[in-house]
Every structure is written in structure tokens, then in C-alpha cells.
Symmetry: C2
Subunit: 270 residues, 2 copies
């Protein structure tokens, strides 16, 4: 009820501001009795808020459909929207739906072929298998520009939790007999802590964990990951599934037969 009360207050304030605004264009009308609250010039009206919410919902969907690029930080007006999304049930629901679609696809492949020895599934790590939400909670959920040093310090703690729906998918894909290749933008310097973090969170028995070598540091993620996928193909593997939270995990060349884009409105990697 408290929320409805403050909404009502916002609506009333909106009406007051609208009257005040209209007056600018109609000086002949008597000045209405408007109590000017201290913050009324910067206060947003309920209509403004609703419009911003619609724009931010549109922005988030457009990011997921790869319509917005490049972007360096969450738009300021969408900071609260993104925070609510990633800390609320919608993010979890979105992650779960993508995992279910990937699982159904993996099972359909397993049902139609007997020999899985060459079949591979690629998983990204950050925001795909492991979640860095605890880090982003301290950094505005993507509102702040990305700080490599700060993030590296977080990675070195090895405390990123598993994304539960991804852990379930990972285990299922392994149990179905797919080779599992973990392909991450993390640098080779983080190998030890990444292995420990993954194992502590229940990820085991991957076939390969590929980290970014010094020579790959200046490449875009799209180029680096495409090269690595091409190497897998050259070794005879068929990449049938690819799960990642960035389009740069999925696009480029040597693309997977099917790609699964996990939601991520907090950052963009080219």
C-alpha cells in the first residue's frame, strides 16, 4: 500500500508540474496555486518515469537482439531498471528459459545420433557459467565504466557463484556426451583461480579451458573466439551448441550450429 501511496503522490506532483508547465505558454491565465516543493524542478513526474521505464525495457531487449552496439555503459536513466532486472526474478526467468531451450536442443541432437565423440558445446565463463553480480553490485550494475584492475582483483578472489540454470545445462550437456569447451576472455594469468572457482561451484570434467594468451590480448572477443572455434573445427570437432552472454561469444566465423544468447544488460564486449 505504501507503494501505491507514493505513486499517487507522484501522479499528483505530475499534475501540478503539468499545470505549472502549461502556464509558461499561457501567461494570460491566472497563476495557479502550486506549492513549490524544494525538489520540484528536478523531480520526475510519474509519466516521465513510465516513459523512461519503457525506453529502458526497449533498450534491454534491443541489447539482447544485438541492435545496440557498441555501448560502453548502461544509459544513466536505465541504471535503476537494470539493477531491478538483474536482482529480481526476470533475469533468473530469462536465464532459465534460455537454458531450457538449449537443453531441449541438446537432447534432440543426442536422440538423433549415436556417436557423439566429435560433437562439441562451447561455453563462455563470465555471466554464462559464473556470475559476477557480487562485483557489479558494488559498481552500479554496469553504470560505471569497466575498470580492468578492479575487476581483475575480484576475479582473483575466485568467489563468483554459479548461474544455477547454466550449471544444470552444463551437467546435462556433459552427460549427453558432448565435449565441453570453456572459452573465456579471461587471461591465462587467471587460469588457476578460474579452475578453482569453477570446481568450487560444481563445474567439473570439462575437456578444455581456453584462456586468452598474451598474443590474443589486442584482438576483439569476436576475432579471438572465432579463431579458437576454427581450431576446434580443424581438429575435427563439430560445434553444435554455444552458450554466451555476449554476441561476441557467438558471432564471427566457425559459428556454432545453434547459439544461445544469455541475457546481460550490464556490459558489452566487442
Amino acid at each position: 500500500m505504501a507503494r501505491h501511496g507514493s505513486l499517487l503522490a507522484l501522479v499528483l506532483m505530475g499534475v501540478m508540474l503539468a499545470v505549472a508547465g502549461a502556464e509558461e505558454h499561457a501567461a494570460e491565465l491566472p497563476r495557479p496555486l502550486v506549492i513549490q516543493l524544494p525538489s520540484s524542478t528536478t523531480e520526475k513526474t510519474a509519466a516521465d518515469e513510465a516513459e523512461a521505464e519503457a525506453r529502458c525495457a526497449s533498450w534491454r531487449v534491443a541489447v539482447e537482439a544485438n541492435n545496440v552496439l557498441p555501448w560502453s555503459a548502461v544509459p544513466a536513466e536505465c541504471a535503476a531498471h537494470v539493477r531491478r532486472y538483474v536482482t529480481g526474478p526476470a533475469y533468473r526467468s530469462d536465464l532459465e528459459l534460455v537454458a531450457r531451450e538449449a537443453s531441449a536442443y541438446a537432447r534432440s541432437l543426442a536422440a538423433s545420433a549415436s556417436d557423439r565423440a566429435a560433437d562439441a558445446w562451447v561455453f563462455d565463463v563470465d555471466e554464462t557459467l559464473l556470475s559476477n553480480l557480487p562485483y557489479y553490485a558494488d559498481h552500479g550494475y554496469g553504470l560505471e565504466l569497466f575498470d580492468h584492475r578492479e575487476f581483475d582483483r575480484w576475479v582473483e578472489k575466485g568467489e563468483a557463484p554459479a548461474i544455477p540454470s547454466s550449471l544444470k545445462l552444463y551437467k546435462e550437456v556433459r552427460d549427453l556426451g558432448f565435449k565441453t569447451f570453456l572459452l573465456t576472455g579471461r587471461s591465462e594469468g587467471h587460469q588457476g583461480v578460474t579452475v578453482d572457482n569453477l570446481k568450487k561451484q560444481g563445474f567439473h570434467d570439462w575437456d578444455r579451458l581456453i584462456l586468452r594468451a598474451a598474443a590474443d590480448r589486442t584482438k576483439t572477443a569476436t576475432a579471438y573466439k572465432s579463431e579458437k572455434r576454427k581450431e576446434m573445427e580443424a581438429e575435427g570437432y563439430k560445434i553444435l551448441g554455444n552458450s554466451g552472454d555476449q554476441w561476441s561469444d557467438l558471432l564471427g566465423y566457425s559459428m556454432s550450429a545453434r547459439s544461445f544468447k544469455l541475457p546481460n544488460p550490464m556490459y558489452y564486449i566487442p
Copy 2:
């Protein structure tokens, strides 16, 4: 307030149903005094509704990110969600944001190059330039399976309205000097009515309108549209932008430098 009243009724009914359900597993407990309303067995609880809403929102975003495929009709539980979306402000907001991103990209290209003679932008027609919402309003907004004959009768009326944000983008892209190629899955038999419909809605001066020939009828849209884009490239055109509501408008080969996926939760074309 009436909505809050019925919400309260739904919550109360939910509690009653939960109690009734629990009783099945605990026969030793005394039967609670539950007034059985006539519709109580089919009535959904508020929690059920909220969960279905979350699932449908996730489904819609997953469709936009190309995570769900193929699908033949909107999931039954999402019929109301999709109807509300396409008839409400969110669909318009999503369309407008994608058009703004496309426009910014087109202007950035125009600013960085002087000769635009070979630069091309591809537009799909249905649910991209023209809207078939009046047709889908009569057919459950995608809940019904697609009926070719019915849809053809609608197309022959030539009354599909323009999508306003797409009309604005179309004009801007033309004004910036791009060649505009309209590439549609409509068959050549609909050429006359399609030209009339487009012109009546304000679309003029396209460089080419490509419809599906008899020989293309059995091809997927992805294959048909890729072939046509390849022909454009063979003629020397550089496809820099591509706007479509289906991933099959955008993926395949001879892909555009950038693609813009307009929202469409009503149908899927492979």
C-alpha cells in the same frame, strides 16, 4: 481499485485452492471449510498468473535474441501477453528504439563517406515497413496457426498500415543516399497490390522491390534472402544495413554489415 479488488479475490482463491490441494496429501487432517466456487478448478491464482507473465516475458525476449526456434504459434499461456504487448506502448517503444539505432548508424556512415552510389540498405516488408496487425487482431495475434489463404486474402486488400518509425527511417536512409532494396517473402503474384499498398502508406522511390518467384517457393526465407543479397553483392552493391522482423531476414550468407531486428512475437519464419 476494481482491479485490486479482483486481485485480492484471486489471492484468497489461491489460498483456498492451496489448502484444498494440500488436503489431497494429508487425508488425516479434517476437511477444511472451503466454499467451492463454480470456476475454482480452472481459475488461476495470482501467483500462477505472475509466473506465467514472467515466463511469457522471457519467451518474448528469447524470441528476439533468436534463442527459440522453430516455433509454429505463440504458446497458449502467452496469448494475452502477446496481445497486450503488440497493442500497447511497449511494441511501439521497441520499434522506435530499433529505428533510432538504425538511423544513428546510417548517419554515421553517411558522415564518413562521400560516395554512396554502391551503398545499399535492405528492408523486409511485412512487420518491418508495413504492419499486418489488423489481420493478426482477427487471428489471435499469433495464437492461431498461420493460414496462407486467409493471409493472402488480407494482403490482396492492400490495406496494411505503415509502421511509423520504419517509414521515418526509410525516408532518412533514402535521403542519405543509400540504395533501398525491398526484399519480401511475398510472392510475385502480390506485386501490384504490394506496390500500391506501400505507396499509399508513404513509401516511394525504392530502387528495387524483390518478391518471391515461383522457383523460390520451396526455399527457406534464410536461403531465398541470402541468394538475393548475394546477387546484390555480385552487382557491386555493399549491403551496409538490413532491417527485418525475422532472423531469417538477417542471417545466412552475404549478411549486411549491420542488421536491425525489429520485434515480432506473433510468428516465426525459418
